[in-house]
Symmetry: C2
Subunit: 228 residues, 2 copies
């Protein structure tokens, strides 16, 4: 039977009709800690905006600081300009496995997902722009902000930073085996179970133009040894 992780902390999520999960309610999770855990475990998000009345969805980086999700991109990017003209929606999804059922109808996926709605705020002050870029960089590549050259004014001018509040979010988590019909379990004519899926970091590949003598720095080496 399908099992669901339910974590409840305060503040509660889902304060609006559209972020209240209607389908698959038993997979809805109402805890703020669950939202943070998914956002911290994800690597990229999918950003959706409306362009000329039609949706556009693109993969992009993100970073979380408390109640705020930061996004960034090139100043000229259509997706970021459109993000400021309408509300946006961001999904972070971790796929944990495929659920094999006795019947095709009950095939499913084990996953953790967060979907966040809201108006994007253009980050304008240099201080918060640098803060947002630091949060984004440290999410994408922990330890890199201090290790690397930080943005200069020319680079900053080419970069748009957006902030999205985490106030309006929906979290869904599915785990465990299939939810087959009793008669199919009795019939026993198909295998049932879960094929887990994990992400794994590989060994660091130094850039072709990296000078000899560099060892892999600790922040890269330690991540390489961890799960993705």
């Amino acid at each position: 039977m399908p099992k669901t992780l339910v974590a409840v902390t305060r503040p509660q999520l889902s304060p609006t009709p559209r972020s209240t999960i209607k389908r698959g309610k038993k997979r809805a999770v109402t805890g703020r800690a669950a939202l943070d855990a998914i956002l911290d475990a994800g690597i990229i998000c999918h950003l959706s905006v409306v362009v000329d009345g039609s949706p556009l969805v693109l993969p992009t980086g993100y970073g979380r600081d408390g109640e705020t999700l930061y996004l960034h991109g090139s100043t000229g990017a259509l997706s970021l300009r459109s993000a400021l003209a309408n509300e946006i929606c961001v999904a972070v999804t971790l796929l944990d496995g495929i659920v094999y059922a006795r019947s095709v109808f009950h095939f499913s996926a084990n996953y953790r997902s967060a979907v966040i709605h809201g108006p994007a705020r253009l980050v304008e002050s240099t201080e918060e722009r640098l803060h947002g870029l630091r949060v984004l960089t440290e999410h994408m590549a922990p330890g890199s902000w201090e290790h690397c050259r930080q943005p200069n004014p020319k680079e900053l001018a080419k970069t748009t930073v957006l902030a999205l509040s985490l106030d309006e979010a929906a979290v869904k988590v599915r785990s465990g085996g299939p939810g087959d019909e009793p008669e199919d379990v009795f019939e026993d004519s198909a295998w049932a179970g879960v094929l887990p899926l994990t992400q794994q970091w590989g060994s660091p590949v130094p850039s072709d133009d990296l000078s000899a003598g560099w060892e892999i720095p600790a922040h890269v080496r330690d991540r390489s040894a961890s799960h993705g």
Copy 2:
């Protein structure tokens, strides 16, 4: 320097202004074979629809048959009802690694992504509905359609099947090391390279209620031994 896979086959992609890639042109790939390869390698997609003028993006399953992408869901799902009221956008993204640069500005990700635009078509004939569900099932869990009990009329009535043409699609591929500024390469004050990321299937976990005596069937066992 960043390297880009460019595969060109016919028919060409990107026949419309909105699916013509403007940002990151050097990462745009115009081949139909590249699109098919990404769709076949992905496991889930992100489906974006417009609801009350705002975007909604959700993870979901899909399957490809030739020029058609099939999607499905519960008959009552808001996302699928909205999909028929407006155009939709579907993204399939494979994240291949994080690109560590000497400067924060040049951090990037290696990835393969396909973004498809168009009107969704409600699949109405029982024959094509079953075909679409077969394509979806075989994408999600190859070998399962024949192994399992196929949908009965009651299950079919609960399921909406949508078809999306692959005519309007954009493919982006980034691979290789960072594109640092020459002065940062000369400065040599930070490590630069790629931390690869892969997906890996785990060992099959039989369902708690599976009867004793089942061996793992070949279609599950073989997938478990392959890369995700």
